[in-house]
Symmetry: C2
Subunit: 458 residues, 2 copies
């Protein structure tokens, strides 16, 4: 039996034990955004540290940060010349939300058929453990790994990873690697191996328009007074033209065109537009640039969305006021090679120039993160494709993701390393929502694919 076959066999024999790992970690309600769970986030880190030690990793340590601790561990005894990969993941979770929307206790994992139901099962506890499962299998069977592995497992992903960039910068030498392995994304369909090779950037701003010093009687003063809510609506309306294109000057200048091959690949993906619209509950998918497909519009085209709007009398019934203030939260999803900083500045200039007389404008900055694309020709991508095919028996699909992972451009900038995103979460996993769940056969095959990937990268 080859080393790889032995490792895969080990994984099959230890399925039950590995499932218990996931259940144990998911029992810890490590909700990073809630102060009441601060100790739980620490417990999740300590539990992870203990597991890393148990399976034979080295330099295992819980590192303190400004808020929640993170875990570092490695195994760097591979043959000379073997590459080094950094596994990134997180063991913090989103709040469970309304308990009554759950069919089970969110922190008491239950298995129903093929599914493991609990908070963190998909995002990201169930996925990050796949790398520890695969590492254990190698260490227990071959006594070594075919590559050097470093683990960086944090507890702040769900609050935007505030401590990660400073940690990576100050621990650059410790973390240096040939590439980053991340499983925190999803599968395009259950059982369909999926590599996500791009994320959009994000520039998130808030516009506030102030008019009168307090809400005015709209009868006594309506007419001569510029209404901040009306002025805001005009500014928002001006942000797109009639073709659904964003009107910020220079917005599309950096946008990279899709390779024809990518267009073909996306077009070949199974996609039922009617069903997608029905799932979201929208009557039509007519937003954005009509000359692009739905998946292109949500993955590879930059967009601008109003995320929230407020002002004046917002409660039930009627109140005849001219609002003293109206505000809008506006964010732009950016694609390679748009610069989040440049777009952020252009937005600010354009919006300030559109502020009418009679009101004053203030702009707040919330987020500024660059887009990221994994090079399609990177050899780790090819290795992953092969490993996935061996484990799942199906060809891998390559997709992009409309959301934002600010750590990807950060890893590239600080560590000069690209990231390989192998996602094993179900499209029905309902991460962040009630009844979060993971599909166990995909987790198992995921562990196998990762064990195979180690060999192929070595």
């Amino acid at each position: 039996m080859s080393q790889i076959d032995a490792a895969v066999e080990y994984l099959r024999q230890h399925r039950q034990e590995h499932l218990e790992w996931v259940r144990a970690l998911c029992r810890i309600p490590s909700i990073s955004t809630q102060d009441a769970h601060q100790q739980d986030v620490r417990r999740a880190a300590e539990w992870t540290r203990d597991l890393c030690k148990r399976i034979g990793l080295q330099h295992v340590e819980v590192h303190e940060t400004a808020r929640h601790p993170l875990v570092y561990a490695d195994w760097c005894k591979a043959a000379p010349g073997a590459p080094t990969y950094l596994v990134y993941g997180h063991v913090d979770v989103q709040p469970e939300g309304e308990r009554k929307l759950w069919d089970a206790d969110p922190f008491d994992p239950v298995v129903r058929g093929e599914w493991l139901i609990c908070r963190g099962s998909a995002d990201d506890k169930g996925q990050v453990l796949l790398y520890l499962r695969a590492a254990q299998a190698w260490l227990q069977t071959a006594g070594k790994l075919p590559i050097n592995l470093k683990f960086l497992i944090e507890g702040e992903e769900e609050i935007g990873s505030p401590s990660l960039p400073p940690f990576v910068k100050t621990h650059r030498d410790l973390l240096l690697c040939d590439g980053v392995l991340i499983s925190d994304t999803g599968m395009y369909e259950d059982g369909l191996p999926t590599i996500t090779y791009g994320t959009r950037g994000l520039s998130y701003k808030e516009i506030r328009l102030r008019g009168p010093k307090h809400n005015l009687h709209s009868g006594q003063h309506g007419g001569p007074v510029v209404n901040p809510a009306d002025a805001l609506a005009r500014i928002i309306a001006s942000l797109h033209d009639e073709h659904g294109r964003v009107t910020i000057p220079g917005f599309y200048d950096g946008v990279m065109d899709l390779f024809p091959e990518e267009r073909r690949q996306f077009a070949a993906l199974p996609f039922d537009e009617k069903r997608y619209a029905a799932d979201l509950g929208v009557p039509a998918l007519v937003g954005g640039e009509q000359e692009f497909t739905v998946n292109e519009r949500r993955w590879v085209r930059p967009t601008l969305d109003v995320n929230g709007v407020y002002g004046g009398y917002m409660a039930e019934g009627a109140s005849t006021v001219i609002p003293a203030m109206a505000g809008a939260k506006v964010s732009m999803r950016l694609v390679p090679n748009q610069s989040a900083e440049e777009i952020s500045r252009s937005f600010e200039e354009a919006v300030l120039a559109r502020c009418p007389a009679g009101v004053r404008m203030e702009i707040l900055d919330h987020t500024c993160a660059d887009p990221y694309v994994t090079p399609l020709e990177w050899k780790a991508m090819h290795a992953a494709k092969t490993a996935l095919k061996e484990a799942f028996g199906r060809e891998t699909v390559f997709v992009r993701e409309g959301g934002t992972l600010p750590i990807l451009p950060m890893f590239r900038q600080v560590l000069h390393a690209d990231s390989l995103m192998l996602g094993f979460a179900s499209p029905h996993c309902n991460a962040h929502g009630p009844n979060e769940k993971a599909r166990l056969p995909d987790l198992d095959r995921g562990a196998e694919a990762i064990a195979r990937l180690f060999a192929l990268l070595g």
Copy 2:
């Protein structure tokens, strides 16, 4: 001494007693919108009933309504052929708001110099009592009134007078009159006698746009999904053209042009645009139709204002959602001879037609009230002008009011009676706000003017 001189002299001699009436009525916290004060509104009605009896009115009765009681009283023994006037007023008040903003107890009236400070001193207890002061003066000196007087004093004005129209309709015969006398408006300047001869109508709507069935991740779905907050902004922005004119089809069709005489009168009023802007805290008065003056824009031109806007993530910070819903409260102030019902219908049609594909629209109706203008040639207007000049020693100014009094078109429609609005509240009275106050010399001269008016109408 003539009868009118005797009545005026009586008023002068009983100033202190009449001031005590105002203080006694203002001590009752008759806040109509708060259930906890239900008994206080009743007490205010009963106190008013008792005063009406004490000064010699007839048919004095507290009438029950669906919510707060109202008081009716009359004196209809004037010489044959004498006209009949209906005095309308209210003895309920607005909540006191934040107590710490008051310099004194809002329900413990204090006199500071020329001012009486307390809730209700100006709006409307201090003003409605002027008619009882004048009636008492006549009855105590001449033993009769020169005209027939009816009193209709309600306790629901501050909550929109829901019981008044049904009461007036079912008591039409009881209330029939040649005109309505109302003192619930203000003076253009302290000491400057002012007749308000027009109010704007109101059509108040709420637009709700629904897109996805719940808030969506703006990264995963931003692009193909039509954003309800963006669609709403486009609709709001479309409601005015670049000249500040409302774009609802037919909106201006019924609008009556100002008489040249009115324009001249308004232009002659003292008005410091810079100071008005500074008082409101706005950088410029560039709203609405620039070819009209500020007072014209707020009094006699129809307007459309956003009163509130809401949708998506409205709290502090950032959340990357596409809102499931966004809404706006939009109201239009209407002028003669716009029909509130017609405008309301045109608005609905126009806005529905502007609803883009990809979202669904719902429109709620809040208020629909017609504008009102007192005929300038009405003889009661001339009589009032003379009475005011005799009492204040200054010429009366005629102004309009941008706000809405739905009872005025209701009185015209049900009783076929026009309304004379003699306002004695100071422009600094801060009705509805903290430290509401009335200027005592103007209340005293107001009582005198009303006593003189009775004679002139007779």
